[in-house]
């Protein structure tokens, strides 16, 4: 807390921008996000990376609300994303609905699906709930590859996603579509980030944390525990549905392989590594988990390629390194990278004094 800053109203005390440094940081972040696509205008790889992170950030924010704030573990987030993606693609193909509407339909479908799999949370906690949500994952995997439903889902060969057009402007068709898609994904990610932050700093967020930390006390203190658990499931799967739909439109085709159990585990890894119950943790975790394979492939593997067997590829090393990192974080810093950064900040603030 910097000295010399005095707050004279509760509104100021509860605002996002509490210290002058917040204003500076926010301005820099805005400048960064605005200039990024223009700096990398012709660098498709960097634009792709930004879109990839923005889309997955939306889903991660959702699962962080569910797991980090409300304390309900979900191993079915990949399935929630798949439901959103398929719902929006199918409505776009069969009904020819416009892009924004299909994304919304995808999100709503995913939300309803999430609500159904949130019902077991009334009785189940912890590992047991995780297994119940795992059922969602396998159910969706099974339905998507089922040949009898191939007329709808395209089976294991998948679907071609129609072009996304917004106000008569065919975003994914143009050359440099990555550049234009940036202006869809990043503003949405920012919006959902702020929305999530607003939720968690108000009464809903406190109710969720109360349920996470002590559900019996929460219920006796007037919180309808089941309603708020379901609300967490609804919002988390709504976020996943948005992310799934955007991802489908962005890559242009849809197969069940995108939304396997591995994706669900990746989401859990993102919030664990980034920091449970912190929205910045979602951002840091998403960037970390999605960038790590690229760093492996482009930097580490070439550097060690002469000394190790050829079977050491990015794909084969990724799970090993992932597992190692998750174990490392669980032991050394269970609150994730964000907590680590906070400790560094705290240390530097007091430096050179020990306390």
């Amino acid at each position: 807390m910097p000295s010399g800053v005095f707050k004279t109203s509760y509104a100021e005390d509860m605002a996002f921008i509490r210290w002058p440094i917040h204003r500076i940081a926010l301005t820099l972040a805005a400048i960064f996000l605005l200039t990024y696509p223009f700096v990398f205008r012709n660098n498709i790889y960097m634009l792709y990376w930004a879109n990839y992170i923005a889309i997955f950030l939306i889903a991660t924010l959702g699962i962080n609300i569910l797991t980090g704030y409300a304390g309900q573990i979900s191993l079915g987030h990949g399935a929630f994303m798949a439901v959103g993606a398929y719902a929006s693609t199918i409505t776009a193909i069969k009904l020819g609905l416009p892009f924004p509407l299909t994304v919304f339909i995808g999100a709503i479908s995913s939300m309803l699906f999430g609500l159904i799999f949130g019902i077991p949370s009334l009785k189940l906690k912890g590992f047991y709930l995780a297994i119940a949500t795992l059922a969602a994952q396998y159910l969706v995997d099974f339905l998507l590859v089922n040949p009898k439903l191939a007329w709808l889902t395209g089976g294991s060969s998948g679907l071609i996603v129609p072009e996304a057009s917004l106000m008569g402007f065919e975003i994914t068709k143009l050359s440099g579509s990555d550049f234009y898609f940036y202006f869809v994904t990043v503003p949405l990610a920012v919006f959902f980030f702020i929305f999530a932050a607003n939720l968690t700093r108000s009464d809903v967020g406190r109710a969720w944390v109360a349920i996470r930390d002590n559900d019996i006390a929460a219920e006796i203190m007037g919180i309808n525990v089941f309603k708020y658990k379901l609300l967490a499931f609804a919002i988390a799967s709504f976020y996943a549905g948005i992310a799934g739909s955007l991802w489908a439109y962005y890559i242009g085709y849809l197969t069940p392989e995108h939304y396997t159990i591995a994706l669900s585990i990746d989401f859990v890894a993102m919030i664990l590594i980034g920091g449970l119950g912190r929205h910045w943790g979602s951002l840091v975790g998403t960037v970390f988990v999605l960038t790590l394979p690229e760093v492996l492939k482009r930097v580490i593997i070439p550097a060690i390629s002469g000394f190790v067997p050829v079977t050491f590829t990015a794909e084969s090393l990724r799970p090993i390194i992932f597992g190692a990192i998750i174990i490392l974080f669980l032991i050394a810093e269970p609150h994730g990278i964000v907590e680590l950064l906070r400790k560094v900040k705290e240390y530097l603030r007091l430096f050179p004094f020990p306390y």
Binding site: Y10, M14, L199, S202, D203, A207, D213, I220, M221
Partner: protein, 261 residues
């Protein structure tokens, strides 16, 4: 006027009768103490009132409205708040947030619209924050406002828990051993808070307590439980001189002996 009427409540766990046909009335505005040896069923009866346990028989009326077997959160909404024997706070929250969470039942903002903070949520937050600050001032918790509750000393945690219950603006406050585990000074503070809550805020208090000297001092009436049955009720003077109570509860003639453990 009768605020709370417990009528012939029986709670069984398998073959064990934790509460056995307990009946008592509580008047509006009084401090009623429930005493009894360990395992007498005091906390079980309190849990029945707050809806955490569902008694197999009997009814509980709050302002002539039956609340037996209602969900705990709907009982809280009717104006019954409580604290717990072993502090049950939300570990990860700050003191301020814990007390704010007690305001939950008074929020009128649709949960989803809290996401659009600047439209409506902020006004609502500020309104409740003002009430919470009054409670923080009342309980002298100013210096702990931003501290995470799990890092606070036990005595302060008890006070934070009392603050959370007060944030519900209850008409009836159930306190399960408010003095348990406190030092003598903290007990004196707690006694002052309880009397102030009763006299200044006009909240009726039903409390369970083992420390006889405090019970005798602060309560208007006392109900004595033994093995799930109510064996006596009356003013502290009457209870002190009731031979059945002395026999059953203290187990010897010396009524002033503090009941330990």
């Amino acid at each position: 006027m009768t605020l709370l009427r417990v009528n012939n409540v029986t709670l069984r766990f398998g073959g064990v009768k934790a509460v056995d046909g307990a009946s008592f009335d509580m008047r509006e505005g009084e401090v009623l103490a429930m005493i009894g040896p360990n395992g007498a069923g005091k906390t079980s009866l309190l849990n029945c009132i707050s809806g955490f346990y569902r008694p197999q028989e009997g009814q509980i009326f709050f302002r002539d409205e039956e609340i037996t077997r209602k969900k705990p959160y709907s009982i809280a909404m009717k104006g019954i708040a409580r604290t717990f024997q072993n502090v049950e706070l939300y570990r990860g929250m700050s003191t301020l947030d814990v007390i704010m969470s007690g305001r939950h039942i008074h929020y009128k903002c649709n949960p989803v619209f809290s996401g659009f903070y600047f439209l409506k949520g902020r006004k609502e937050e500020i309104k409740h924050r003002k009430r919470v600050e009054e409670i923080i001032d009342f309980l002298d918790l100013q210096q702990y406002r931003r501290k995470i509750v799990s890092t606070l000393p036990y005595g302060i945690q008890k006070r934070v828990e009392l603050g959370r219950a007060l944030a519900l603006e209850p008409q009836l406050l159930l306190l399960d051993e408010p003095m348990g585990g406190l030092s003598f000074e903290e007990k004196e503070d707690m006694a002052v808070y309880i009397l102030e809550i009763n006299e200044d805020l006009g909240i009726s208090v039903l409390l369970i307590e083992h420390d006889m000297s405090f019970v005798m001092d602060i309560s208007d009436r006392i109900v004595v439980l033994e093995r799930g049955r109510i064996i006596a009720s009356g003013t502290p003077e009457e209870i002190k001189n009731n031979p059945a109570v002395v026999q059953a509860y203290v187990g010897e003639a010396d009524a002033r002996a503090e009941y330990g453990g």
